[in-house]
Protein backbone atom coordinates (compact mmCIF):
# COMPACT_ATOMS: atom_id res chain seq x y z
CA UNK A 1 0.00 0.00 0.00
CA UNK A 2 1.39 3.33 -0.87
CA UNK A 3 0.16 6.39 0.86
CA UNK A 4 2.04 9.00 -1.15
CA UNK A 5 2.06 9.66 -4.86
CA UNK A 6 4.83 8.41 -7.09
CA UNK A 7 5.94 12.03 -7.52
CA UNK A 8 6.29 12.49 -3.78
CA UNK A 9 8.15 9.22 -3.41
CA UNK A 10 10.51 10.20 -6.21
CA UNK A 11 11.24 13.47 -4.40
CA UNK A 12 11.87 11.58 -1.17
CA UNK A 13 14.22 9.22 -3.00
CA UNK A 14 16.14 12.24 -4.30
CA UNK A 15 16.54 13.46 -0.73
CA UNK A 16 17.69 10.04 0.47
CA UNK A 17 20.39 10.05 -2.20
CA UNK A 18 22.05 13.02 -0.50
CA UNK A 19 23.04 10.99 2.52
CA UNK A 20 25.11 7.85 3.08
CA UNK A 21 23.10 4.71 2.24
CA UNK A 22 22.82 3.63 5.88
CA UNK A 23 21.56 7.08 6.93
CA UNK A 24 18.12 7.18 5.32
CA UNK A 25 16.74 8.75 8.49
CA UNK A 26 18.58 11.92 7.49
CA UNK A 27 15.88 12.43 4.88
CA UNK A 28 13.02 12.37 7.36
CA UNK A 29 12.64 16.15 7.58
CA UNK A 30 12.46 16.46 3.83
CA UNK A 31 10.20 13.43 3.53
CA UNK A 32 7.76 14.85 6.07
CA UNK A 33 7.82 18.18 4.25
CA UNK A 34 7.11 16.47 0.94
CA UNK A 35 4.33 14.40 2.52
CA UNK A 36 2.83 17.53 4.07
CA UNK A 37 3.00 19.38 0.79
CA UNK A 38 1.01 16.58 -0.80
CA UNK A 39 -1.47 15.98 2.01
CA UNK A 40 -1.77 19.43 3.55
CA UNK A 41 -0.95 18.12 7.00
CA UNK A 42 0.67 15.14 8.69
CA UNK A 43 -1.75 12.53 9.98
CA UNK A 44 -0.26 9.80 12.17
CA UNK A 45 -0.75 7.30 9.35
CA UNK A 46 1.27 9.51 7.05
CA UNK A 47 4.05 9.84 9.62
CA UNK A 48 4.08 6.08 10.18
CA UNK A 49 4.28 5.52 6.44
CA UNK A 50 7.19 7.92 6.05
CA UNK A 51 8.98 6.32 9.01
CA UNK A 52 8.54 2.88 7.53
CA UNK A 53 9.71 4.09 4.13
CA UNK A 54 12.91 5.35 5.72
CA UNK A 55 13.32 2.37 8.04
CA UNK A 56 13.06 4.28 11.30
CA UNK A 57 10.74 3.92 14.31
CA UNK A 58 7.43 5.73 13.91
CA UNK A 59 7.87 7.46 17.24
CA UNK A 60 11.21 8.87 16.10
CA UNK A 61 9.55 10.38 13.04
CA UNK A 62 6.78 11.70 15.26
CA UNK A 63 9.39 13.31 17.49
CA UNK A 64 10.69 15.15 14.45
CA UNK A 65 7.22 16.13 13.25
CA UNK A 66 6.36 17.61 16.64
CA UNK A 67 9.71 19.31 17.22
CA UNK A 68 9.90 21.50 14.14
CA UNK A 69 7.10 23.98 14.06
CA UNK A 70 6.45 24.17 10.32
CA UNK A 71 4.91 20.70 10.34
CA UNK A 72 1.15 20.62 10.79
CA UNK A 73 -0.24 17.84 12.95
CA UNK A 74 -3.86 18.79 12.38
CA UNK A 75 -5.66 19.88 9.23
CA UNK A 76 -5.11 23.49 8.15
CA UNK A 77 -6.72 25.70 5.56
CA UNK A 78 -5.72 25.60 1.90
CA UNK A 79 -3.67 28.70 2.48
CA UNK A 80 -1.62 28.96 5.62
CA UNK A 81 -0.36 32.44 6.28
CA UNK A 82 2.36 32.61 8.91
CA UNK A 83 3.18 36.11 10.06
CA UNK A 84 6.49 36.80 11.74
CA UNK A 85 5.81 38.77 14.92
CA UNK A 86 9.30 38.71 16.36
CA UNK A 87 10.94 41.92 17.56
CA UNK A 88 12.47 43.34 14.36
CA UNK A 89 9.25 42.71 12.43
CA UNK A 90 7.25 44.04 15.36
CA UNK A 91 9.30 47.24 15.28
CA UNK A 92 8.61 47.45 11.56
CA UNK A 93 4.84 47.13 11.97
CA UNK A 94 4.02 43.42 12.26
CA UNK A 95 1.49 44.09 15.03
CA UNK A 96 -0.54 46.29 12.71
CA UNK A 97 -0.40 43.67 9.95
CA UNK A 98 -1.39 40.97 12.44
CA UNK A 99 -4.41 42.96 13.56
CA UNK A 100 -5.34 43.63 9.96
CA UNK A 101 -5.13 39.94 9.05
CA UNK A 102 -7.24 38.93 12.03
CA UNK A 103 -9.87 41.56 11.30
CA UNK A 104 -10.00 40.78 7.66
CA UNK A 105 -10.25 37.00 8.11
CA UNK A 106 -12.31 37.08 11.28
CA UNK A 107 -10.05 34.56 12.97
CA UNK A 108 -7.27 34.65 15.52
CA UNK A 109 -3.77 33.22 15.25
CA UNK A 110 -3.86 29.45 15.18
CA UNK A 111 -7.33 29.40 13.64
CA UNK A 112 -8.80 28.46 10.28
CA UNK A 113 -11.62 30.24 8.47
CA UNK A 114 -14.87 28.24 8.45
CA UNK A 115 -14.62 27.81 4.68
CA UNK A 116 -11.24 26.11 5.09
CA UNK A 117 -9.57 28.68 2.88
CA UNK A 118 -7.16 30.37 5.29
CA UNK A 119 -5.25 29.45 8.38
CA UNK A 120 -3.48 32.20 10.25
CA UNK A 121 -0.38 31.50 12.27
CA UNK A 122 2.15 33.45 14.23
CA UNK A 123 5.73 32.63 13.30
CA UNK A 124 9.17 33.07 14.73
CA UNK A 125 12.10 34.74 13.02
CA UNK A 126 12.24 33.88 9.34
CA UNK A 127 15.68 35.28 8.74
CA UNK A 128 14.64 38.18 6.53
CA UNK A 129 14.12 40.89 9.15
CA UNK A 130 15.25 43.73 6.92
CA UNK A 131 12.25 43.09 4.72
CA UNK A 132 9.64 42.97 7.47
CA UNK A 133 6.83 42.85 8.15
CA UNK A 134 6.69 39.55 6.32
CA UNK A 135 4.81 36.32 6.12
CA UNK A 136 5.09 32.85 4.65
CA UNK A 137 2.45 31.32 2.43
CA UNK A 138 2.17 27.55 2.94
CA UNK A 139 5.64 27.48 4.45
CA UNK A 140 7.44 27.94 1.15
CA UNK A 141 6.79 31.35 -0.27
CA UNK A 142 7.80 34.53 1.47
CA UNK A 143 5.93 37.83 1.08
CA UNK A 144 7.87 40.82 2.35
CA UNK A 145 7.32 44.51 3.08
CA UNK A 146 3.70 43.85 3.97
CA UNK A 147 1.22 46.71 4.14
CA UNK A 148 -2.51 46.41 4.76
CA UNK A 149 -2.97 46.95 1.03
CA UNK A 150 -0.48 44.27 -0.03
CA UNK A 151 -2.04 41.88 2.48
CA UNK A 152 -5.49 42.46 0.94
CA UNK A 153 -4.09 41.80 -2.51
CA UNK A 154 -2.33 38.63 -1.37
CA UNK A 155 -5.42 37.26 0.34
CA UNK A 156 -7.47 37.89 -2.78
CA UNK A 157 -4.99 35.95 -4.88
CA UNK A 158 -5.09 32.92 -2.58
CA UNK A 159 -8.20 31.17 -3.80
Amino acid sequence: MTMLTAESLALIDQECAKYPAEQRQSAVMAALRIAQTEKGWLAKDTIAYVADYLGMPAIAAYEVATFYNMYELAPVGRHKVTLCTNLPCQLQGADRIGAHLQNKLGIGFGETTPDGRYTLKEGECMGACGHGPLCLHNNHQMHAHLTPESVDKLLDELK
Binding site: R33, F67, M70, Y71, L87, P88, G123, E124, C125, G127
Partner: protein, 428 residues
Protein backbone atom coordinates in the same frame (compact mmCIF):
# COMPACT_ATOMS: atom_id res chain seq x y z
CA UNK B 1 29.68 53.44 0.71
CA UNK B 2 31.70 52.52 -2.30
CA UNK B 3 30.24 50.63 -5.21
CA UNK B 4 29.85 46.91 -4.95
CA UNK B 5 33.17 45.51 -6.13
CA UNK B 6 34.96 42.24 -5.55
CA UNK B 7 37.92 44.13 -4.16
CA UNK B 8 36.37 46.03 -1.29
CA UNK B 9 33.47 43.75 -0.56
CA UNK B 10 33.86 40.13 0.37
CA UNK B 11 30.46 38.51 0.03
CA UNK B 12 27.84 40.77 -1.48
CA UNK B 13 29.84 42.29 -4.36
CA UNK B 14 27.80 40.44 -7.00
CA UNK B 15 24.94 42.83 -6.25
CA UNK B 16 26.70 45.26 -8.57
CA UNK B 17 26.02 42.93 -11.52
CA UNK B 18 23.07 41.64 -13.49
CA UNK B 19 22.33 38.01 -12.60
CA UNK B 20 24.35 38.24 -9.42
CA UNK B 21 23.81 34.57 -8.52
CA UNK B 22 24.93 33.08 -11.80
CA UNK B 23 28.04 31.04 -12.33
CA UNK B 24 28.94 33.34 -15.23
CA UNK B 25 28.94 36.46 -13.08
CA UNK B 26 31.03 34.73 -10.49
CA UNK B 27 33.64 33.28 -12.83
CA UNK B 28 33.89 36.52 -14.84
CA UNK B 29 35.12 38.19 -11.68
CA UNK B 30 37.73 35.72 -10.54
CA UNK B 31 35.36 33.14 -9.13
CA UNK B 32 36.68 29.60 -8.61
CA UNK B 33 40.22 30.78 -9.37
CA UNK B 34 41.34 30.16 -5.82
CA UNK B 35 40.03 26.62 -6.04
CA UNK B 36 41.63 26.01 -9.42
CA UNK B 37 44.98 27.21 -8.14
CA UNK B 38 44.78 25.02 -5.07
CA UNK B 39 43.87 21.96 -7.11
CA UNK B 40 46.49 22.66 -9.78
CA UNK B 41 49.27 23.36 -7.31
CA UNK B 42 48.10 20.80 -4.77
CA UNK B 43 48.50 23.46 -2.10
CA UNK B 44 49.14 21.81 1.26
CA UNK B 45 46.32 22.13 3.79
CA UNK B 46 48.70 23.76 6.24
CA UNK B 47 49.37 26.60 3.83
CA UNK B 48 45.67 27.25 3.36
CA UNK B 49 45.00 27.21 7.09
CA UNK B 50 47.95 29.57 7.56
CA UNK B 51 46.37 32.16 5.24
CA UNK B 52 43.06 31.84 7.08
CA UNK B 53 44.86 32.37 10.37
CA UNK B 54 46.67 35.46 9.01
CA UNK B 55 43.36 36.89 7.83
CA UNK B 56 42.05 36.91 11.43
CA UNK B 57 38.74 35.73 10.06
CA UNK B 58 36.44 35.13 12.99
CA UNK B 59 33.24 33.10 12.81
CA UNK B 60 30.42 35.19 11.38
CA UNK B 61 27.63 33.14 12.97
CA UNK B 62 27.75 34.83 16.33
CA UNK B 63 30.48 33.33 18.47
CA UNK B 64 33.39 34.97 16.63
CA UNK B 65 35.71 31.99 17.02
CA UNK B 66 38.89 32.23 14.90
CA UNK B 67 38.24 30.15 11.79
CA UNK B 68 41.83 29.14 11.13
CA UNK B 69 42.11 27.78 14.64
CA UNK B 70 38.86 25.84 14.26
CA UNK B 71 40.10 24.28 11.03
CA UNK B 72 43.32 23.23 12.69
CA UNK B 73 41.32 21.09 15.16
CA UNK B 74 40.29 18.62 12.46
CA UNK B 75 42.23 15.38 12.75
CA UNK B 76 44.41 15.15 9.63
CA UNK B 77 45.18 11.48 9.88
CA UNK B 78 41.65 10.25 10.64
CA UNK B 79 41.13 7.36 8.22
CA UNK B 80 37.33 7.47 7.80
CA UNK B 81 34.84 9.95 6.38
CA UNK B 82 34.92 13.60 7.37
CA UNK B 83 32.40 16.32 6.69
CA UNK B 84 32.13 20.04 6.17
CA UNK B 85 28.88 21.65 7.18
CA UNK B 86 27.67 25.15 6.44
CA UNK B 87 25.30 26.76 8.86
CA UNK B 88 22.70 28.78 6.97
CA UNK B 89 20.13 28.21 9.68
CA UNK B 90 19.79 31.89 10.21
CA UNK B 91 16.99 32.45 12.71
CA UNK B 92 18.44 34.81 15.26
CA UNK B 93 16.03 37.75 15.29
CA UNK B 94 17.67 40.61 13.44
CA UNK B 95 19.94 38.43 11.29
CA UNK B 96 19.33 38.08 7.56
CA UNK B 97 22.71 38.22 5.89
CA UNK B 98 23.27 34.55 5.02
CA UNK B 99 20.02 34.45 3.11
CA UNK B 100 21.41 37.20 0.85
CA UNK B 101 24.69 35.35 0.34
CA UNK B 102 22.86 32.21 -0.79
CA UNK B 103 20.53 34.34 -2.85
CA UNK B 104 23.05 36.62 -4.52
CA UNK B 105 26.42 34.89 -4.37
CA UNK B 106 25.91 31.14 -3.97
CA UNK B 107 28.99 30.21 -5.97
CA UNK B 108 31.33 31.95 -3.62
CA UNK B 109 29.83 29.86 -0.83
CA UNK B 110 30.20 26.74 -2.95
CA UNK B 111 33.82 27.60 -3.65
CA UNK B 112 34.38 28.28 0.03
CA UNK B 113 32.91 24.92 0.97
CA UNK B 114 34.99 23.20 -1.71
CA UNK B 115 38.16 24.75 -0.36
CA UNK B 116 37.15 23.82 3.17
CA UNK B 117 36.41 20.26 2.03
CA UNK B 118 39.78 20.04 0.28
CA UNK B 119 41.67 21.51 3.22
CA UNK B 120 39.97 19.37 5.84
CA UNK B 121 39.92 16.14 3.83
CA UNK B 122 36.14 15.88 3.82
CA UNK B 123 34.22 13.60 1.51
CA UNK B 124 31.03 15.67 1.41
CA UNK B 125 29.48 18.86 2.64
CA UNK B 126 26.00 19.87 3.70
CA UNK B 127 24.51 23.31 3.78
CA UNK B 128 21.77 23.51 6.40
CA UNK B 129 19.26 26.10 5.25
CA UNK B 130 16.80 27.81 7.56
CA UNK B 131 13.29 26.38 7.28
CA UNK B 132 11.50 29.60 6.45
CA UNK B 133 13.63 30.43 3.42
CA UNK B 134 12.56 27.55 1.18
CA UNK B 135 13.14 29.73 -1.85
CA UNK B 136 16.83 29.90 -0.98
CA UNK B 137 16.91 26.15 -0.46
CA UNK B 138 15.67 25.84 -4.02
CA UNK B 139 17.96 28.50 -5.45
CA UNK B 140 20.95 26.90 -3.75
CA UNK B 141 20.06 23.57 -5.38
CA UNK B 142 20.02 25.39 -8.73
CA UNK B 143 23.49 26.77 -8.07
CA UNK B 144 24.74 23.32 -7.04
CA UNK B 145 23.45 21.85 -10.29
CA UNK B 146 25.16 24.61 -12.22
CA UNK B 147 28.43 23.87 -10.44
CA UNK B 148 28.01 20.13 -10.93
CA UNK B 149 27.44 20.61 -14.65
CA UNK B 150 30.62 22.67 -14.81
CA UNK B 151 32.64 19.87 -13.24
CA UNK B 152 33.10 21.79 -10.03
CA UNK B 153 31.37 19.18 -7.86
CA UNK B 154 31.24 15.42 -7.78
CA UNK B 155 33.86 13.02 -9.07
CA UNK B 156 37.27 14.15 -10.28
CA UNK B 157 36.69 17.86 -9.79
CA UNK B 158 38.30 19.90 -12.60
CA UNK B 159 40.30 16.84 -13.57
CA UNK B 160 42.21 16.89 -10.29
CA UNK B 161 41.24 13.39 -9.24
CA UNK B 162 39.58 14.81 -6.13
CA UNK B 163 35.97 13.84 -5.32
CA UNK B 164 33.68 15.98 -3.22
CA UNK B 165 29.98 16.68 -3.24
CA UNK B 166 27.70 19.22 -1.67
CA UNK B 167 24.07 18.96 -0.67
CA UNK B 168 21.41 21.08 0.93
CA UNK B 169 19.53 20.09 4.05
CA UNK B 170 16.42 22.07 4.72
CA UNK B 171 15.34 22.97 8.25
CA UNK B 172 11.68 23.21 9.16
CA UNK B 173 11.20 25.67 11.94
CA UNK B 174 13.54 25.40 14.91
CA UNK B 175 15.83 28.25 15.94
CA UNK B 176 17.91 25.86 18.01
CA UNK B 177 19.27 24.18 14.88
CA UNK B 178 21.49 27.21 14.44
CA UNK B 179 23.47 25.69 17.33
CA UNK B 180 26.04 23.59 15.55
CA UNK B 181 25.49 20.27 17.29
CA UNK B 182 21.70 20.62 17.17
CA UNK B 183 22.18 21.22 13.47
CA UNK B 184 24.12 17.97 13.16
CA UNK B 185 21.40 16.07 14.99
CA UNK B 186 18.90 17.61 12.62
CA UNK B 187 20.86 16.48 9.57
CA UNK B 188 20.86 13.02 11.08
CA UNK B 189 17.06 13.14 10.99
CA UNK B 190 16.47 13.73 14.66
CA UNK B 191 15.11 16.46 16.86
CA UNK B 192 17.49 19.38 16.83
CA UNK B 193 18.76 19.03 20.37
CA UNK B 194 22.29 20.18 21.09
CA UNK B 195 24.90 17.66 22.14
CA UNK B 196 27.02 18.17 25.21
CA UNK B 197 30.61 19.06 24.55
CA UNK B 198 33.19 17.61 24.68
CA UNK B 199 33.38 15.80 22.37
CA UNK B 200 33.40 18.63 19.86
CA UNK B 201 32.34 18.16 16.23
CA UNK B 202 35.96 18.14 15.09
CA UNK B 203 36.29 14.72 16.72
CA UNK B 204 32.66 13.55 16.87
CA UNK B 205 30.45 15.35 14.39
CA UNK B 206 28.00 14.34 11.69
CA UNK B 207 27.31 10.58 11.95
CA UNK B 208 29.99 10.54 14.61
CA UNK B 209 32.67 11.56 12.10
CA UNK B 210 35.04 14.52 12.35
CA UNK B 211 33.17 17.56 11.12
CA UNK B 212 33.82 21.26 10.75
CA UNK B 213 30.85 23.59 10.89
CA UNK B 214 31.13 27.19 9.78
CA UNK B 215 28.72 29.99 9.18
CA UNK B 216 27.72 30.87 5.62
CA UNK B 217 29.45 34.23 5.63
CA UNK B 218 32.59 32.66 7.10
CA UNK B 219 32.81 30.04 4.36
CA UNK B 220 31.95 32.58 1.67
CA UNK B 221 34.89 34.68 2.86
CA UNK B 222 37.39 31.88 2.25
CA UNK B 223 37.77 32.27 -1.57
CA UNK B 224 38.38 35.99 -1.14
CA UNK B 225 41.07 35.34 1.47
CA UNK B 226 42.87 32.84 -0.72
CA UNK B 227 42.62 34.99 -3.79
CA UNK B 228 43.81 38.19 -2.17
CA UNK B 229 45.85 36.73 0.68
CA UNK B 230 45.14 36.62 4.37
CA UNK B 231 46.94 39.90 4.92
CA UNK B 232 44.67 41.79 2.50
CA UNK B 233 41.61 40.47 4.30
CA UNK B 234 43.02 41.45 7.67
CA UNK B 235 43.67 44.93 6.35
CA UNK B 236 40.05 45.33 5.32
CA UNK B 237 39.21 45.32 9.02
CA UNK B 238 41.37 45.85 12.02
CA UNK B 239 43.81 43.68 13.99
CA UNK B 240 42.24 40.56 15.45
CA UNK B 241 39.05 41.54 13.59
CA UNK B 242 39.95 40.86 10.02
CA UNK B 243 37.81 41.59 7.01
CA UNK B 244 34.65 43.27 6.01
CA UNK B 245 31.50 42.04 7.61
CA UNK B 246 27.86 42.15 6.69
CA UNK B 247 25.78 44.11 9.15
CA UNK B 248 22.06 43.41 9.01
CA UNK B 249 20.30 46.46 10.26
CA UNK B 250 16.61 46.32 11.11
CA UNK B 251 13.99 48.03 13.22
CA UNK B 252 13.56 51.77 13.36
CA UNK B 253 15.81 52.88 10.50
CA UNK B 254 14.78 54.35 7.21
CA UNK B 255 16.65 51.83 5.08
CA UNK B 256 16.83 48.46 6.79
CA UNK B 257 19.08 46.03 4.96
CA UNK B 258 22.50 44.44 4.69
CA UNK B 259 25.61 46.60 4.65
CA UNK B 260 28.96 44.94 4.09
CA UNK B 261 31.50 47.24 5.67
CA UNK B 262 34.91 46.89 7.28
CA UNK B 263 35.01 45.65 10.84
CA UNK B 264 35.77 48.61 13.05
CA UNK B 265 33.44 51.02 11.24
CA UNK B 266 31.89 53.44 13.75
CA UNK B 267 28.25 52.69 14.48
CA UNK B 268 27.05 56.20 13.57
CA UNK B 269 28.40 55.61 10.04
CA UNK B 270 26.31 52.45 9.69
CA UNK B 271 23.27 54.24 11.06
CA UNK B 272 23.78 56.95 8.47
CA UNK B 273 24.12 54.41 5.64
CA UNK B 274 20.81 52.92 6.81
CA UNK B 275 19.19 56.31 6.41
CA UNK B 276 19.18 57.22 10.06
CA UNK B 277 16.45 56.67 12.64
CA UNK B 278 13.05 56.62 10.98
CA UNK B 279 10.80 59.65 10.94
CA UNK B 280 13.44 61.75 12.64
CA UNK B 281 12.84 60.02 15.95
CA UNK B 282 15.47 59.85 18.62
CA UNK B 283 17.54 56.71 19.02
CA UNK B 284 16.74 54.90 22.25
CA UNK B 285 18.55 51.58 22.24
CA UNK B 286 20.37 49.16 19.99
CA UNK B 287 20.82 45.41 20.13
CA UNK B 288 24.15 45.20 18.29
CA UNK B 289 24.52 41.50 17.51
CA UNK B 290 21.21 39.73 17.15
CA UNK B 291 18.51 39.26 19.76
CA UNK B 292 20.76 37.27 22.08
CA UNK B 293 23.19 40.14 22.49
CA UNK B 294 22.65 42.41 25.48
CA UNK B 295 20.91 45.67 24.56
CA UNK B 296 22.93 48.90 24.75
CA UNK B 297 21.48 52.37 25.35
CA UNK B 298 21.82 54.90 22.54
CA UNK B 299 24.48 56.96 24.26
CA UNK B 300 26.76 53.95 24.67
CA UNK B 301 26.13 52.68 21.18
CA UNK B 302 26.83 55.95 19.43
CA UNK B 303 30.39 55.87 20.78
CA UNK B 304 31.24 52.37 19.57
CA UNK B 305 33.01 50.96 16.57
CA UNK B 306 31.54 47.81 15.07
CA UNK B 307 34.03 45.06 15.84
CA UNK B 308 34.14 42.04 18.11
CA UNK B 309 36.45 43.57 20.69
CA UNK B 310 34.91 47.02 21.03
CA UNK B 311 31.38 45.75 21.49
CA UNK B 312 32.47 43.07 23.93
CA UNK B 313 34.20 45.75 25.95
CA UNK B 314 30.94 47.68 26.13
CA UNK B 315 29.22 44.64 27.66
CA UNK B 316 27.48 43.23 24.62
CA UNK B 317 28.58 41.26 21.58
CA UNK B 318 28.96 41.67 17.86
CA UNK B 319 27.34 38.29 17.40
CA UNK B 320 26.12 37.80 13.88
CA UNK B 321 26.27 41.53 13.13
CA UNK B 322 22.52 41.93 13.39
CA UNK B 323 21.82 45.45 14.54
CA UNK B 324 18.29 46.01 15.85
CA UNK B 325 17.56 49.69 16.20
CA UNK B 326 14.89 50.97 18.58
CA UNK B 327 13.72 54.57 18.74
CA UNK B 328 12.14 56.51 21.57
CA UNK B 329 8.64 55.11 20.88
CA UNK B 330 9.62 51.59 21.93
CA UNK B 331 8.31 50.17 25.17
CA UNK B 332 11.21 48.14 26.48
CA UNK B 333 8.93 45.89 28.50
CA UNK B 334 6.91 44.96 25.46
CA UNK B 335 10.07 44.44 23.41
CA UNK B 336 11.50 42.16 26.07
CA UNK B 337 8.20 40.29 26.36
CA UNK B 338 8.43 39.39 22.68
CA UNK B 339 12.06 38.34 22.90
CA UNK B 340 11.54 36.25 26.03
CA UNK B 341 8.58 34.56 24.37
CA UNK B 342 10.88 33.69 21.49
CA UNK B 343 13.40 31.92 23.71
CA UNK B 344 10.64 30.17 25.63
CA UNK B 345 9.08 28.99 22.37
CA UNK B 346 12.40 27.92 20.88
CA UNK B 347 13.93 26.15 23.87
CA UNK B 348 14.50 22.59 22.77
CA UNK B 349 13.37 21.25 26.13
CA UNK B 350 16.30 18.99 26.68
CA UNK B 351 18.00 20.47 29.70
CA UNK B 352 16.29 21.60 32.84
CA UNK B 353 17.35 25.23 33.38
CA UNK B 354 16.37 26.30 29.88
CA UNK B 355 13.22 24.17 29.56
CA UNK B 356 11.82 25.36 32.87
CA UNK B 357 13.56 28.71 33.23
CA UNK B 358 12.67 30.32 29.91
CA UNK B 359 8.96 29.80 30.62
CA UNK B 360 9.32 31.25 34.07
CA UNK B 361 11.11 34.36 32.73
CA UNK B 362 8.52 34.84 30.01
CA UNK B 363 5.57 34.50 32.36
CA UNK B 364 6.91 37.10 34.77
CA UNK B 365 7.68 39.58 31.98
CA UNK B 366 4.27 38.94 30.47
CA UNK B 367 2.66 39.75 33.81
CA UNK B 368 4.62 42.98 34.10
CA UNK B 369 3.66 43.99 30.56
CA UNK B 370 0.02 43.27 31.34
CA UNK B 371 -0.09 45.32 34.52
CA UNK B 372 0.28 42.47 36.98
CA UNK B 373 3.89 42.98 37.95
CA UNK B 374 5.08 42.90 41.51
CA UNK B 375 7.93 44.85 43.08
CA UNK B 376 9.98 41.69 43.68
CA UNK B 377 9.71 40.60 40.05
CA UNK B 378 12.78 42.39 38.71
CA UNK B 379 15.15 40.89 41.23
CA UNK B 380 13.46 37.54 40.72
CA UNK B 381 14.08 37.81 36.97
CA UNK B 382 17.75 38.40 37.59
CA UNK B 383 17.94 35.58 40.12
CA UNK B 384 16.28 33.13 37.70
CA UNK B 385 18.57 34.35 34.94
CA UNK B 386 21.59 33.60 37.10
CA UNK B 387 20.33 30.06 37.56
CA UNK B 388 20.03 29.54 33.81
CA UNK B 389 23.13 31.28 32.53
CA UNK B 390 26.18 29.06 32.25
CA UNK B 391 24.32 25.96 33.37
CA UNK B 392 22.80 24.66 30.17
CA UNK B 393 24.05 22.31 27.45
CA UNK B 394 24.13 25.01 24.80
CA UNK B 395 24.15 28.77 24.58
CA UNK B 396 20.39 29.18 24.19
CA UNK B 397 20.09 29.46 27.95
CA UNK B 398 22.59 32.32 28.01
CA UNK B 399 20.92 33.85 24.97
CA UNK B 400 17.59 33.91 26.78
CA UNK B 401 19.13 35.55 29.81
CA UNK B 402 21.19 38.18 27.97
CA UNK B 403 18.25 40.34 26.89
CA UNK B 404 16.48 40.04 30.24
CA UNK B 405 19.48 41.05 32.28
CA UNK B 406 20.46 43.90 29.97
CA UNK B 407 16.95 45.31 29.49
CA UNK B 408 16.42 45.37 33.25
CA UNK B 409 19.91 46.79 33.83
CA UNK B 410 19.66 49.64 31.36
CA UNK B 411 15.94 50.37 31.50
CA UNK B 412 15.03 49.40 35.05
CA UNK B 413 13.05 52.61 35.55
CA UNK B 414 10.73 51.70 32.72
CA UNK B 415 10.07 48.27 34.21
CA UNK B 416 9.48 49.77 37.64
CA UNK B 417 7.03 52.25 36.15
CA UNK B 418 5.12 49.36 34.57
CA UNK B 419 4.97 47.54 37.89
CA UNK B 420 3.93 50.56 39.94
CA UNK B 421 1.51 52.15 37.48
CA UNK B 422 0.32 49.02 35.70
CA UNK B 423 0.80 50.75 32.39
CA UNK B 424 3.49 51.79 29.97
CA UNK B 425 5.73 54.79 30.45
CA UNK B 426 6.22 55.29 26.71
CA UNK B 427 2.88 54.58 25.07
CA UNK B 428 0.11 55.67 27.40
Amino acid sequence: MSLNTPDTQVCLWTLGYDNPASLATYTANGGYEALKKILAEKTPAEAIIEQVKISALRGRGGAGFPTGLKWSFMPRTFPGDKYVVCNTDEGEPGTFKDRDIVRFNPHQLIEGMLIAGYTLGAKAGYNYIHGEIFEQYQSWEVALNEARAAGLLGKDILGSGWDFDLHAHHGYGAYICGEETALLESIEGKKGQPRFKPPFPASYGLYGKPTTINNTETLASIPWILRHGGQAFLELGKPNNGGAKIFSISGHVNKPGNYEIPLGTPFPDLLEMAGGVRNGHKLKAVIPGGSSAPVLPAEVMMGLTLDFDAIAKAGSMLGSGAVIVMDETVCMVKALERLSYFYFEESCGQCTPCREGTGWLYRIIQRIEHGQGRPADLDELLRIGNNIGGRTICALGDAAVGPVASFVKHFRKEFEYHIENKRCMVNH
